[in-house]
């Protein structure tokens, strides 16, 4: 085999890993923190460029079938890189403002994203396991970034204990699948497997591991607590990049490892989990006053919608899932970004929705942007969130899962209440006291505006740089 060729297929992760190592050295030698930030941005832009190149490249497997490239895998790498880049961009001012801007943060993010890309492109259970763990270790650390305050350490502790606990199940699942088939490579497993109890139990436990990472109900309990205790911009990172990676890996597992085997029927399971996730996520989100917690529950609900597409199990459904992940990434980072901007102002506690009264008029661009992102999260046309929902629900209907789609529509209907509540406070309530907002930095502001434009752009006519995005994605299946 040609290592260089293989390395080329894994280039985004390689760039990020190398950049992470350099970032650590820079931190060790006390480089100016702004330089580390700039360096990280440059590295991520390079990685993004490479990953966009890979979107149009061939597909296959590399490194002795350890990883896949091209197609869905390339899309996963692209999504992770995109999400990481925007999260890093919005992080600097925010971490500075909350006084937790450490040099090592950027290295941790880069390492975490390396793991995510590894996870998203994995073609072997071993690679999957290591990708998940590399990602998780970094996330555990980032969850505890608010040092010296109780909530910071608490969220990290919850995350690490429950995460490691779920790792146990994930690893057990891999072990049982390995026992049943004598292999870990997806293709070989698919060829050797039969629907024995051993294999089924292994698949079940593997799925448990996934369900934890994508915070599906009832494996979701850590999500709101961890999201609340984590610095907001990194919460965005948790909610988008890591979720996208996990979902893409799940798509690969479901489409490459499971379907060849007779007697393994996942639709019903995925349906039940999807229904639970949509209902519970939306219901609890309704009663939240903390905006971050509200978004955490909403992200649980969104995981439910994505599971609808997975339950459909058709190429159409997987296409919908990929599109939804893209939509979800841009609109969610946007929403968290605006909230992070508000939080930079210490005049009030801007995680409490009551303090958003009249805020939409303070710095109109930010208010409008937040509204755009929230409308998109509701799934109102013509924003990208609507198309995402449309694709997954339509796929479910076409696969005969009408009930599931109807429940999905109803559940997303309920979500109007809590998203709208934020907007009502933004525009229709009088502020309690007078205060001034800080001006957002140029990079911060323009990247959020860019996300807002993307949210609208891909909701109206999804033209990717060269081709319709959905057409491009559908070629991956």
């Amino acid at each position: 085999m040609d290592y260089l060729y293989d390395l080329n297929t894994f280039l985004p992760a390689t760039i990020m890993a190398a950049a992470g190592l350099v970032a650590i050295l820079m931190a060790a030698y006390k480089a100016r923190i702004g330089n580390i930030f700039n360096f990280t941005i440059v590295a991520l832009v390079m990685a993004l460029a490479v990953s966009i190149r890979d979107l149009f490249g061939p597909d296959g497997t590399a490194f002795f079938d350890m990883i896949a490239y091209g197609g869905t895998a390339a899309f996963g790498a692209f999504l992770v890189t995109l999400g990481t880049l925007f999260c890093v961009v919005i992080s600097r001012d925010y971490l500075e403002a909350i006084d937790h801007h450490y040099r090592e943060v950027y290295a941790m993010i880069l390492f975490g994203s390396t793991g995510m890309v590894g996870l998203a492109v994995s073609n072997d259970l071993i690679m999957l396991f290591l990708g998940v763990e590399t990602m998780s270790i970094c996330l555990y650390v980032l969850a505890g970034l608010i040092k010296g305050e109780k909530i910071g350490a608490e969220s990290a502790l919850k995350y690490v204990l429950l995460g490691a606990f779920s790792t146990g199940f994930l690893l057990y699942g891999i072990a049982l699948i390995y026992g049943a088939t004598g292999a870990t490579s997806y293709a070989v497993v698919a060829g050797a497997a039969e629907a024995t109890p051993l294999f089924l139990a292994g698949t079940a436990l593997l799925l448990v591991g996934f369900f934890f990472k994508i915070s599906a109900v009832p494996f979701h309990m850590w999500t709101p607590d961890v999201y609340q205790g984590t610095p907001t911009t990194l919460t965005a990172y948790f909610a988008t990049a890591s979720k996208a990676a996990s979902f893409i890996a799940l798509v690969l597992v479901l489409s490459r490892m499971i379907p060849e085997i007779e007697g393994v029927e996942l639709t019903q399971l995925l349906q039940v989990i999807a229904i639970l996730t949509m209902i519970v996520g939306n219901l609890i989100a309704l009663v939240q006053d903390n905006v971050k917690r509200m978004l955490a529950y909403s992200s649980i609900a969104h995981a439910g919608y994505i599971l609808v597409g997975l339950a459909a199990g058709t190429p159409e459904g997987y296409t919908g899932v990929l599109y939804y992940l893209f939509a979800y990434t841009i609109m969610n980072i946007g929403a968290f970004g605006v909230i992070a901007y508000y939080e930079r102002n210490h005049a009030l506690d801007f995680t409490d929705v009551h303090n958003y009264a009249g805020l939409g008029y303070k710095f109109p661009v930010m208010g409008v942007l937040l509204s755009v992102f929230l409308f998109s999260l509701i799934g109102i046309p013509p924003f990208v969130g609507f198309l995402g929902k449309y694709y997954v629900f339509a796929a479910a209907v076409n696969a005969g899962l009408v009930t599931l789609a109807v429940i999905g529509v109803l559940a997303s209907a309920a979500s109007v209440f809590y998203y709208l509540r934020v907007m009502v406070y933004l525009y229709f309530r009088e502020p309690h006291k007078e205060y001034q907002l800080v001006r957002p930095g140029a990079l911060f502001k323009y990247s959020l505006i860019l996300l807002g434009i993307l949210t609208l752009w891909y909701g109206i006519e999804p033209i990717f740089p060269t081709d319709s995005l959905i057409e491009l994605i559908s070629t991956y299946y």
Binding site: I151, V160, F165, G168, G179, G182, T184
Partner: protein, 100 residues
């Protein structure tokens, strides 16, 4: 000659005991140890599968899982130290500021 069932059953028993420990112990350090116990139990399954398959993949995976367990232990313990600094306690039932 010990049949593979026995190894697997032992692995399941140890896994279950570890899980039980996670569910009922309140000391965060002990919970972490119980998780190590669970990972370790899975390793037994992996090694026995590898031996009975005559295939090295399982052993490689155990090697990786040991590394992961080590990494998790390191980070977990660091976080426990951090939480002890803030709360002066590692009792997980008292660490519930974030809820609802």
């Amino acid at each position: 000659m010990v049949e593979i069932d026995w190894y697997l059953a032992l692995s399941a028993i140890l896994f279950t005991i570890g899980a039980l420990g996670v569910l009922i112990r309140r000391n965060a350090v002990v919970v972490l140890m119980c998780i190590e116990l669970m990972l370790n139990a899975v390793n037994i399954s992996l090694v026995s599968f590898a031996s009975y398959h005559g295939d090295i993949t399982g052993q490689i995976l155990v090697f990786f899982s040991l590394s992961v367990a080590a990494a998790e232990a390191v980070v977990g313990l660091a976080i426990i130290i951090a939480i002890f600094r803030n709360n002066l306690s590692v009792d997980i039932t008292r660490i519930n500021l974030l809820r609802w």
